[in-house]
């Protein structure tokens, strides 16, 4: 089959390139990163155009959420590359005295990056930056659901980076399956948990380690002790300001108290009107829904019986242009589809509780999300939230922005994924940390070897306890008698 031939061919070429040692020198890695920087700068207009074609993504989002993040990621890697590549000395301890020990980072080899459709430029290039920095050869499979960006990447990458070591393989399910059947040294997948399971099962056949960046329902708890207007803006920015809610770290649903809900709703309505005007379906500042599959999926979530009558704001849609307006729902049933699946769209349910603490049990009744958010000025509540809620990441009093900090690991836990990246964590995701122990021929501890005697055992016990006399006895080769 052609897909298989393409996949096998790509992998073979990448393996040969990696074996030649081409990707190892720091100079090569830096050159690729600078190539990606140039690509992001010179091709900004084309990248924005592709994102507009695929998602009707507003130019600001394309710049702020995709291009500039790629740029800063490249710069961070270039700045730290030498440091990351340097072996780290560690204490060797008394047990193997005299000796030196260090941990050195080496590339895993040939890695596969499978990207997602919602941030099709960022989520393709950001992992590739880590793979290159760690000295690997990379196969990149962009999402076919964002076809304009996929073909743009296939066209641009060979012009800006070394195509013998970094290859783009386009295609849909057959092409992705063919790639997954090959043996890779690591697979990095961004997407949903259903496909995440499939990726991991393929990886299991070759014992390939994986990073899975998946989704979940990111909860936002809103306390009454907040600066409400700022909170509403930040929630809106993280929800509709991020690809119209089609982002893995977008607020999925809100939990607040019954008494505070009307104020929160009011504030959200005001903010939404300010951001998107009275006719949001016509706003240029909102991404559209990516395709009719997802449009129909979201419509079904809204139209479900017992849910459709809970819409308190928005709800308009335009099938022809695949637009759905920012929509707020109040107290939908907890067993409705909109509360069981990751929404990934512009619908925001608000669930009310009597006391704000009850939000914890609700969140913990669901699988661990990629991010959890709390808006509050109450230190005790924040402490309890931090301790009792498990999520990939957590933000107090904002949404989404933690992913811009390269010093924080970005990844999920439980259903939201395994492994992390960004900054140093990207390098670590694609490197093997090899321990190197260098012993001297001095310090020959005869107590180690048979014939085993009581005296030798005594010395060994002393060595394990770092007893100085035993150490000396061991090093000079005593056997402690019979």
């Amino acid at each position: 089959m052609e897909a298989v031939a393409v996949a096998a061919g790509a992998r073979e070429q990448l393996r040969a390139s990696f074996s030649s040692g081409r990707t190892r020198p720091a100079a090569w890695r830096a050159a690729q990163l600078r190539g990606l920087l140039r690509m992001a700068a010179e091709m900004e207009a084309q990248i924005c155009a592709a994102l507009r074609a695929d998602l009707a993504k507003p130019r600001t989002e394309s710049y702020v959420h995709e291009i500039s993040l790629v740029t800063s990621s490249c710069k961070f890697a270039l700045k730290n590359l030498e440091k990351w590549m340097k072996p780290k000395k560690v204490p060797a301890g008394l047990l193997t005295f005299p000796s030196t020990a260090r941990v050195t980072a080496e590339p895993l080899g040939v890695v596969l990056v499978i990207s997602a459709w919602n941030y099709p430029f960022l989520l393709a290039i950001d992992p590739v930056i880590g793979a290159i920095a760690a000295g690997n050869a990379v196969a990149l499979k962009p999402s076919e659901i964002a076809p304009a960006t996929s073909s743009l990447l296939a066209d641009l990458l060979p012009r800006y980076v070394d195509s013998s070591c970094i290859k783009v393989v386009e295609g849909g399910i057959p092409e992705t399956t063919a790639l997954l059947e090959q043996k890779w040294d690591k697979i990095f997948y961004t997407g949903n948990s259903k496909v995440g399971r499939i990726v991991m099962s393929f990886a299991a056949k070759h014992l390939t380690p994986v990073v899975l960046e998946l989704g979940g329902k990111c909860p936002v708890v809103v306390d009454s002790n907040v600066d409400l207007h700022v909170a509403a803006k930040r929630i809106a920015a993280g929800k509709w300001g991020c690809n119209n809610g089609q982002a893995c770290i977008s607020p999925d649903y809100i939990i607040t108290t019954k008494s505070f809900a009307p104020k929160l709703l009011d504030s959200l309505r005001k903010v939404l009107e300010k951001f998107y005007g009275k006719d949001p379906l016509r706003s240029a500042d909102l991404s559209r829904i990516v395709n009719s599959n997802h449009f129909n999926r979201l419509k079904a979530l809204m139209d479900e019986e017992m849910v459709s009558d809970k819409i308190v704001f928005g709800g308009q849609s335009d099938e022809q242009h695949l637009n759905i307006a920012p929509t707020l729902l109040l107290d939908v049933p907890l067993d409705s589809a909109i509360m069981k699946e990751e929404i990934f769209g512009p619908l925001l349910p608000i669930i009310t509780v009597d006391k704000i603490h009850e939000s914890f049990a609700l969140i913990n009744s669901m699988t661990k999300p990629l991010a959890a958010y709390l808006f509050s000025k109450d230190s005790k509540l924040k402490r309890q939230f931090e301790r009792n809620i498990s999520a990939g990441g957590m933000i107090f009093n904002d949404t989404g922005i933690h992913l811009t900090n390269p010093h924080l690991p970005f990844g999920g836990v439980g259903e939201s994924g395994m492994g992390a990246y960004h900054g140093t964590f990207s390098f670590d995701a694609f490197a093997h940390k090899k321990a190197v122990l260098d012993r001297s021929f001095l310090g020959e501890a005869n107590a180690r070897y048979p014939p085993y005697t009581h005296g030798k055992l005594k010395i060994l016990k002393g060595v394990m306890k770092a007893n100085p006399l035993a150490m000396v006895q061991a090093i000079v080769g005593c056997t402690g008698g019979a």
Partner: protein, 484 residues
Amino acid sequence: MGSVPEEMALGFGDLVGDLREVYESGRTRDLEWRQSQLRGLVRLLEEKEEDIFDVLREDLGKHRGESFRDEVGVLKKSIVDKLQNFKNWAAPEKAHTPLVAFPATAFVVPEPLGVVLIFSCWNLPIGLVLEPLSGALAAGNAVVVKPSELAPSTSAFLAANLPKYLDPKAVKVVEGGADVGERLMEHRWDKVLFTGSSRVGRMIMTKAAKHLTPVALELGSKCPCIVDWLDSNRDSQVAVNRIIGAKWSTCSGQACIAIDYVLVEEEYAPILIEMLKTTLKKFFTKPEYMSRILNEKHLKRLSDLLADRRVAASVVHGGHFNPKTLTIEPTLLLNPPLDSDIMTEEIFGPLLPIITVKKIEDSITFLKSKPKPLAIYAFTRNEKLKNRIIEETSSGSVTFNDAIVQYGLDSIPFGGVGHSGFGQYHGKYSFEMFSHKKAVLKRSFLIEFMFRYPPWDETKIGMLRRVYRFDYISLFLAIIGLRR
């Protein structure tokens, strides 16, 4: 009761459910609790030391000297190290925050993964349970341990004693064979550590994929030992001592980090062989100083390796098997064919092939064509050769001028790469293996940058460009209106 007899726990649903409840109650997250568990492990090793020596002798014929050196002693040291450090490891770590997010503070907060499962192996049946167990407990998890049924006395010892020295509500031992392991894997875990063969590793990871359970696999491999010319007699003798220590003194070569085979220059091989023969006689004066082979199945596997006529012809020392005592004498082979089973499969026994090369550097080319092993060993004083080995080969770890000892160091990660597995532990890495590093960003409501929000226009985009270039001065001027 902390141990679950296999007949009673058919589905294990209750076991997992109970542990999840215990974990969710917060019991295991408490630092005092973790400390009490680690202390319990230290007491177990101290009070039951003789019992441990007994079960290791029953299961494997291990001498107490070996048992202390490789299992008990290393463990005690490592657990004490965890006791001293786990509070630091568990503390949130501040992360740098770019000014753009001002005012904000960022932390990385370690949290336990939850309910974890540890599969052990039969050859280091105490060490391969207690080391990861101590890491999982230090990290605040609830744990199920599944010891290997092929070391039954040790398995029974753990089932009887872990509930006595640890919190039986949060630490459970499940005994049994492969079917028990498979049934355990039908459930979702927050992490699984498996030590064993690649074949079973694949099954474990495939089952884990159904639940998105993250796994760490410590698998087998053929660990090579490169032996370079050593000028001084003393150095050569030290090297030979250490090679023997890393092959026959360690569970008769039945260890994932034992030396599997040696690579040496043609001219040096006879010298090495003579020294090995002499020193072997000096060390193994009594049969009890060598562990026995695990069981008949493995004895047959090892004797089958020698059944190949070409391989049998390459034996230069030893080769004698005793099926009654399940022992094999130390055996040296010179250049068995590279396509024979003994050179393609992990030996895991007291047979040592010696492969000759023309120049010692050729051993690097040889290794590059082979699957990545758990450890590469090299005895050499040649710094250039050492660097080439580090740069041009890949393995879990590299040790120069000794072998096996890397296992006892808490400061370096222990684990494989490629065929030899993934995931690392020992020391702080054991803690991290069973932790999730949660990113936490704390923002205040002060200072709102209007250019964050729609509706979008060129001015706002210009501001954002400045922000993302970390061009604070220009940004400040733009905000106060002095720049466009």
